[in-house]
C-alpha cells in the first residue's frame, strides 16, 4: 500500500540515484572518459525542455483544446532544422568567448555591458520564477495525490497551511541543497557541469518511460488500443477532431514560434544546449533525436486525455492530474508510483538546470558588478573563488525560495496555471538582441537595451498584469475596461487590436516593439569601438579561426598580474595550468617568462576570467590591472577591415599555395625523372665503357704477349691471334650496335618502309643462322602459312630482329637436343612471329628488364657473342613499325620471344606510326 513514508523514501532514493549518476559522471569526466560527450546524452539533456508542464500539462491542454499541446513541440522540431546555423553559431561563439549564460551572451555581444547583462537577468528571473513555482506545485500536488491512494483526491490550497507544514517548502529546500550539490560542487565556478548533465539525461529517460508506461496501460490495458479510446470518446462527445477550437490558426502559429524561440532562449535550454555542449558534433544527432524524443513523449497524450475525460466525466478531476489519477483510479499502485516518479523527474530536471542557469546569471550579472564596485575601494579579505562559489550557492537558494514564495502567493490562481506560455513569451524577448547580434553588425548596446526593455514592458503589461488580474490580485476593470477606463490601453486588446488570443496578442506587440526599438535605437548612433569588436567576433564567428585580438588592444600589462588576477577567481593552480596550456598550444612558448604581455595574452586572460565571472565583470577586472589606451573607432575599424581582408587573402593564399604545392610536386617528379635519366645515361656510359674495355683488355694483353715474346710456338701464336681477331670483331659489333641504338633513339636512323613478306624474311634469316644452330647440336622447326604475310616495314631491319632472336635462341637452347622453333600466324589484323627455344628460359625477375640495355638474360654471363644491346635494338625496330616485342618464359622450359606487326593484306592501310609511309601513298 502506498503511504506517505513510502513515497518520501522512494523520492529520496530517486534523488540519491540521480546524485550517484552525477557523481559517477563527474568521476568519469575527471579520468577523461566523459559520458556527456556522447551525442545521445546531449540530445537527452535537451529534453529538459519537457518539464512537469509537459508531463502533466500536455494532457490538460489536450483535454481542453484537442491538439493545442502540439505546437509547443512542433515549433522546436521545425526549428531544429535550422540549428545547424543558429545553435552551431551560438555554441561556437560561446566556446570561444567562454560565455556561460544567455545574459552573458547578450551583454558580451554589445560591448560587455553590465547594464545589459543585468536587464537580461532580471527578465529571465521575473519570467522564469513562476515557471519554477509551477514545478514545485506539480511535485507537491502529485505527492499529496499519491499519498491519498487509493482515493482520487485533489490537493486543497496549500497556501492555507503554515509554511513549516507545507510539503512544497521542504521540496524547495531539498531541491536547493540538491542543486547546490550538483551545480556548485566544485570550487571552480567556470567549468561545465558534467554530472548534472548526465543526471538530466537520465531524468529524460525516466519521464519518457513513465509517461509511456501510463499511456500503454490506459490505451491497451483499459481500452482496446487507440481506435477504441477514440471511438468511445467520440460517442461520449469528448473528441475534438478539429485543430485548436480557440484562437484558430494564429494561436497555432504563434505558439509554435514561441516554442521554437524558447527552446534555445530559456535559461535552462541555453545552459544545456550551449554552455554544457562538449563538441559541435553533438548537434548532428540532437537535430533529429531531440524532435524524436518530443514526438515519443506526446504519442499517448491524446489517449490519456480522452480516457481521463471518459473516466472522470463530471467528477471535477483536473485534467492536469490524469497521468497520475488514472492509474490510481484503476488501483495500479506501482504504476501510480512510477508515474509520480516520472513527474518528479520532469520537475526536478527543470528546477535543477533552471536554477543553476539563473544563479550563474544572478551571480555574474547582478551581484558581481556590485561587489566589484565595492572592491574597488577595499579588497576583500577572503579568497575570491570562495566568495564566487558562495554567491552562486546563495543565488540558487534565493531563486528557489523566491519560486516557493511565488507558489505560496499564487496558489491555484490563473497566474500559475498559465505560466508556461507566459514564461516562454518573456524569454522570447531575448531573440531580437540575440539573433540580431549574431547576424547584424549594426546593433548597439543602446538598441539592445531599448528593445529588451520595450519587449519586457509590453510583456508585463499584456501578459503578466492580466494574469494577475485574472488571479484576482488586480481589479478586473484593468483588464476589461483598460487602465483608468482608457479602452485603447486595454492590456489584451492594446490599441484596439482585438480578436486574438492573449499569447498571439502579446507576442505581436512585444516583438514588434522590441524589434522596432532595437533597430531604431541601434541606428541612432554607429557602434563604438568595443561594440564593433564584439560584433565582428560574433557575426564572423564561423569564419574566424584565431581570436582577433592582436592589434585590438593597446597598453601595458604584466603577465604576472594577469595570472594572479585570474588566479584570484579561478584558484592559483588552475590559472597557472590554463596559462601554461595556452602558451604551449597557442603560442608555442615553453617558458611563461617569455610570454609577451600583448593583446592576445590579455584577451586570453579576459576570456578565461569571463568563464568564471561573466564577460562584463572580466572586462572590468582586466582593465583594473593593465594600463590600457582606448582605441578609437576608426582604428578598430581599420584593424577589423584588415583582419577580414587578411581572412580573404589567406583564403586566396591557401588556394595559391595548394596550386603551388601541386606545381612543386610536378617539378619534383620531373626532377626525379631527370635524375633518373641522368643516372641511366651514366649507367649506360659506364656499361659501354665496361663492354669496350673488356675486349680491349684481351686484345692488349695478347698483343703485348706476342710483341714481347716472338719465340712463342706457332700453335699458341695462332690461338692468341684468333682471340685477338674475335675480340676485335666483338668490339666492332659493339661499336656498331651502340651507334645503331643511338641513332634509333635520337631519331636519326634512316628507315625505309615498303611492303615486305614476313615469311620471306623468316626464311632468309633462317638460311643465315640455321648453320649456327646445327653447329651447336640443335634442331630447327619452321611453321609458316602458305599465304604471304605482308607488312609495311624495313626489310633489313626486320632481318636484323630475326637474326638477333635466332642467335639468342641458338645461344640459349638446351645443350643437348636443343630445339628452336619459328612460327608465323595471323591474329586478327596482326601477324605474330614466335621464336622459341628449349633452354633454361629467362628468370621471372629478369623478364621485365631483359629489353633494357646491357641487361642480358643471364646476369653478367661470360658471353663474348652478346653485347646486351641486341634485344633493345630489336624492340625499337618492332615498335617503330607499330608492333610489339615481348617475351614469355617458364624457367627451365625455354623462352618464347614473339613480335606482332600490323598486316596490310586486306587492301586497307596498315596502321603505322610512321607518317607519310601509308600503304595507299
Amino acid at each position: 500500500m502506498l503511504s506517505g513514508p513510502l513515497v518520501v523514501v522512494t523520492s529520496f532514493l530517486y534523488l540519491g540515484l540521480l546524485f550517484a549518476i552525477a557523481y559517477w559522471a563527474d568521476r568519469r569526466a575527471d579520468t577523461g572518459r566523459s559520458v556527456i560527450s556522447n551525442p545521445t546524452v546531449y540530445a537527452l539533456s535537451l529534453a529538459v525542455y519537457c518539464t512537469a508542464w509537459t508531463y502533466y500539462g500536455s494532457v490538460g491542454r489536450a483535454a481542453a483544446t484537442g491538439y493545442g499541446f502540439l505546437p509547443i513541440y512542433l515549433g522546436p522540431t521545425l526549428a531544429a532544422t535550422l540549428w545547424v546555423f543558429l545553435l552551431l553559431k551560438m555554441v561556437r561563439i560561446s566556446k570561444s568567448q567562454r560565455i556561460t549564460s544567455i545574459a552573458d551572451f547578450i551583454s558580451s555581444r554589445y560591448g560587455k555591458s553590465h547594464l545589459l547583462g543585468g536587464l537580461v537577468t532580471v527578465i529571465a528571473v521575473v519570467g522564469v520564477l513562476p515557471y519554477i513555482a509551477l514545478q514545485l506545485k506539480a511535485i507537491s500536488s502529485s505527492f499529496s495525490i499519491l499519498i491519498h491512494y487509493p482515493d482520487v483526491m485533489l490537493p486543497g490550497g496549500a497556501h492555507t497551511l503554515p509554511v513549516w507544514r507545507d510539503t512544497a517548502f521542504y521540496i524547495a529546500l531539498i531541491l536547493a541543497v540538491f542543486t547546490i550539490l550538483l551545480g556548485t560542487r566544485h570550487l571552480d565556478a567556470s567549468e561545465r557541469h558534467e554530472g548534472m548533465v548526465a543526471a538530466i539525461a537520465f531524468e529524460s529517460i525516466v519521464k519518457l518511460f513513465a509517461l509511456t508506461a501510463v499511456g500503454v496501460f490506459i490505451t491497451f490495458g483499459l481500452y482496446d488500443g487507440f481506435g477504441d479510446v477514440v471511438h468511445q470518446a467520440l460517442q461520449a462527445g469528448h473528441l475534438k477532431t478539429r485543430l485548436i477550437p480557440e484562437g484558430g490558426a494564429n494561436f497555432w502559429f504563434s505558439l509554435s514560434l514561441l516554442s521554437a524561440l524558447a527552446v534555445l532562449m530559456l535559461p535552462r535550454q541555453f545552459q544545456v544546449a550551449v554552455v554544457e555542449n562538449s563538441g559541435e558534433n553533438q548537434l548532428r544527432r540532437a537535430i533529429w533525436l531531440f524532435p524524436l524524443y518530443l514526438l515519443l513523449i506526446n504519442i499517448f497524450v491524446l489517449p490519456i486525455a480522452l480516457a481521463g475525460q471518459l473516466e472522470f466525466a463530471g467528477m471535477g478531476v483536473d485534467a492536469d492530474t490524469y497521468v497520475l489519477t488514472l492509474p490510481i483510479a484503476h488501483k495500479q499502485q506501482w504504476l501510480a508510483l512510477f508515474s509520480y516518479l516520472g513527474g518528479l523527474s520532469a520537475a526536478t530536471g527543470m528546477v535543477i538546470v533552471e536554477t543553476i542557469a539563473l544563479s550563474t546569471m544572478v551571480c555574474n550579472d547582478l551581484v558581481m558588478p556590485g561587489l566589484l564596485r565595492r572592491w574597488r575601494y577595499r579588497a576583500p579579505s577572503m579568497d575570491l573563488s570562495v566568495i564566487l562559489l558562495l554567491v552562486r550557492r546563495g543565488a540558487i537558494f534565493v531563486v528557489l525560495m523566491l519560486g516557493y514564495s511565488y507558489f505560496r502567493l499564487a496558489g491555484e490562481a490563473y497566474a500559475l496555471v498559465a505560466i508556461g506560455l507566459i514564461s516562454f513569451a518573456a524569454v522570447a524577448q531575448f531573440a531580437p538582441a540575440m539573433i540580431g547580434g549574431m547576424y547584424w553588425r549594426g546593433g548597439t548596446r543602446g538598441g539592445a537595451l531599448a528593445g529588451l526593455s520595450a519587449g519586457f514592458l509590453v510583456w508585463i503589461y499584456t501578459l503578466l498584469l492580466p494574469s494577475f488580474a485574472k488571479s484576482g490580485w488586480l481589479a478586473r476593470d484593468f483588464l476589461d475596461l483598460g487602465p483608468f477606463g482608457i479602452a485603447l490601453l486595454k492590456p489584451q486588446a492594446l490599441f484596439g487590436l482585438e480578436g486574438f488570443d492573449e499569447i498571439t496578442h502579446c507576442l505581436f506587440w512585444s516583438l514588434t516593439l522590441n524589434i522596432g526599438a532595437y533597430l531604431i535605437v541601434s541606428s541612432i548612433r554607429a557602434p563604438n569601438a568595443e561594440e564593433t569588436t564584439q560584433a565582428t567576433r560574433f557575426v564572423d564567428a564561423m569564419s574566424i579561426n584565431r581570436p582577433i585580438a592582436e592589434g585590438l588592444w593597446r597598453g601595458r600589462a604584466e603577465v604576472d598580474d594577469l595570472i594572479s588576477l585570474t588566479g584570484r577567481f579561478l584558484g592559483e593552480d588552475r590559472a597557472r595550468e590554463s596559462f601554461a596550456e595556452y602558451y604551449a598550444k597557442e603560442r608555442n612558448i615553453e617558458d611563461d617568462a617569455e610570454l609577451p604581455a600583448d593583446g592576445e595574452t590579455v584577451h586570453f586572460a579576459e576570456t578565461l576570467l569571463a568563464g568564471a565571472i561573466g564577460s562584463a565583470s572580466a572586462r572590468a577586472m582586466i582593465a583594473s590591472v593593465v594600463q590600457e589606451e582606448p582605441l578609437g573607432l576608426d582604428e578598430v575599424m581599420d584593424i577589423l577591415d584588415e583582419a577580414s581582408q587578411i581572412r580573404a587573402y589567406s583564403h586566396e593564399l591557401e588556394q595559391k599555395s595548394r596550386e603551388l604545392e601541386a606545381a612543386t610536386a610536378e617539378l619534383k617528379a620531373a626532377n626525379v625523372k631527370l635524375l633518373e635519366l641522368d643516372h641511366l645515361k651514366d649507367d649506360f656510359m659506364s656499361s659501354v665503357t665496361h663492354e669496350l674495355r673488356t675486349p680491349l683488355t684481351s686484345i692488349r694483353a695478347f698483343s703485348e704477349i706476342l710483341w714481347e715474346d716472338p719465340k712463342i710456338d706457332l700453335e699458341e701464336r695462332k690461338r692468341f691471334l684468333g682471340i685477338i681477331v674475335s675480340e676485335t670483331e666483338r668490339l666492332t659489333r659493339l661499336v656498331n650496335q651502340v651507334l645503331d641504338l643511338a641513332k634509333i633513339e635520337s631519331g636519326h636512323a634512316v628507315w625505309t618502309s615498303s611492303e615486305v613478306d614476313l615469311g620471306d624474311i623468316i626464311r632468309q634469316s633462317i638460311d643465315a643462322s640455321e648453320q649456327l644452330i646445327i653447329d651447336r647440336g640443335g634442331r630447327l622447326k619452321l611453321d609458316l602459312p602458305d599465304a604471304p604475310a605482308k607488312v609495311m616495314a624495313d626489310q633489313d631491319r626486320l632481318m636484323q630482329v630475326m637474326l638477333n632472336l635466332l642467335s639468342n635462341a641458338a645461344k640459349f637452347m638446351a645443350k643437348e637436343s636443343g630445339r628452336v622453333e619459328v612460327h608465323l600466324k595471323r591474329q586478327q589484323n596482326m601477324y605474330k612471329v614466335m621464336v622459341s627455344d628449349n633452354g633454361s628460359g629467362v628468370p621471372v625477375k629478369l623478364q621485365p628488364v631483359i629489353f633494357e640495355k646491357f641487361r642480358q638474360g643471364v646476369e653478367g654471363s661470360a658471353n663474348p657473342l652478346g653485347t646486351g644491346l641486341g634485344l633493345p635494338i630489336s624492340r625499337e625496330i618492332i615498335e617503330h613499325f607499330g608492333g610489339r616485342l615481348s617475351v614469355k618464359s617458364t624457367p627451365e622450359k625455354g623462352a618464347i620471344f614473339s613480335f606482332v606487326l600490323p598486316c596490310i593484306n586486306r587492301g586497307g592501310a596498315a596502321p603505322s606510326n610512321n607518317p607519310g609511309q601509308e600503304a595507299e601513298a
Binding site: S686, R693, T697, S698, A701, I705, E708, S726, P864
Partner: protein, 124 residues
C-alpha cells in the same frame, strides 16, 4: 717454394691471357670463372695472391674480397682487383674493402706482372 696465384674472371679470354702471364713468371696458377667458385677455391687452396675481376656472375669481386678479409684464416691472401670499371669511386671501394691493389683494365702486361711480383716478393 712456388707461389700460388688464383685468377677469378668470367671473361674467358682475359683469364687465358693472365694465366699465360702468370705461368710465364713461374707461379702455380689456377682459374675460377665466377665469384662463388673463386671464393671456394680461395678457401680450399689458400693461394698467395688472387687476381680478382669485379663484374662477375653469382658473386661480384667486391663481395669475394670482403668475405676473404672477414676470414682470419685467409689473412695472408693478397688480392689484386682487376676491373673494367675504372671509376675513382670503385677504386676506393675496392681498396677500402681490403684489396692490396686495384688495376684497371685494359692493363699493361708488364705492369701487371711487376705489381704481382712486388706484392709477393717482400715476404721471401
Amino acid at each position: 717454394m712456388t707461389k700460388k696465384v688464383l685468377i677469378v674472371d668470367d671473361e674467358q679470354n682475359i683469364a687465358i691471357s693472365v694465366e699465360y702471364l702468370m705461368r710465364r713468371e713461374g707461379f702455380d696458377v689456377s682459374v675460377a670463372k665466377d665469384g662463388e667458385e673463386g671464393l671456394a677455391m680461395i678457401r680450399s687452396t689458400k693461394p698467395d695472391l688472387v687476381l680478382l675481376d669485379v663484374m662477375m656472375p653469382k658473386m661480384d669481386g667486391f663481395q669475394v674480397c670482403s668475405e676473404v678479409r672477414a676470414d682470419a684464416s685467409l689473412a695472408g691472401v693478397r688480392i689484386i682487383m682487376l676491373t673494367a670499371k675504372g671509376r675513382e669511386a670503385e677504386i676506393e671501394k675496392g681498396l677500402s674493402l681490403g684489396a692490396d691493389a686495384y688495376i684497371p683494365k685494359p692493363f699493361s702486361t708488364s705492369d701487371l706482372v711487376s705489381r704481382v711480383k712486388a706484392l709477393l716478393e717482400p715476404k721471401e
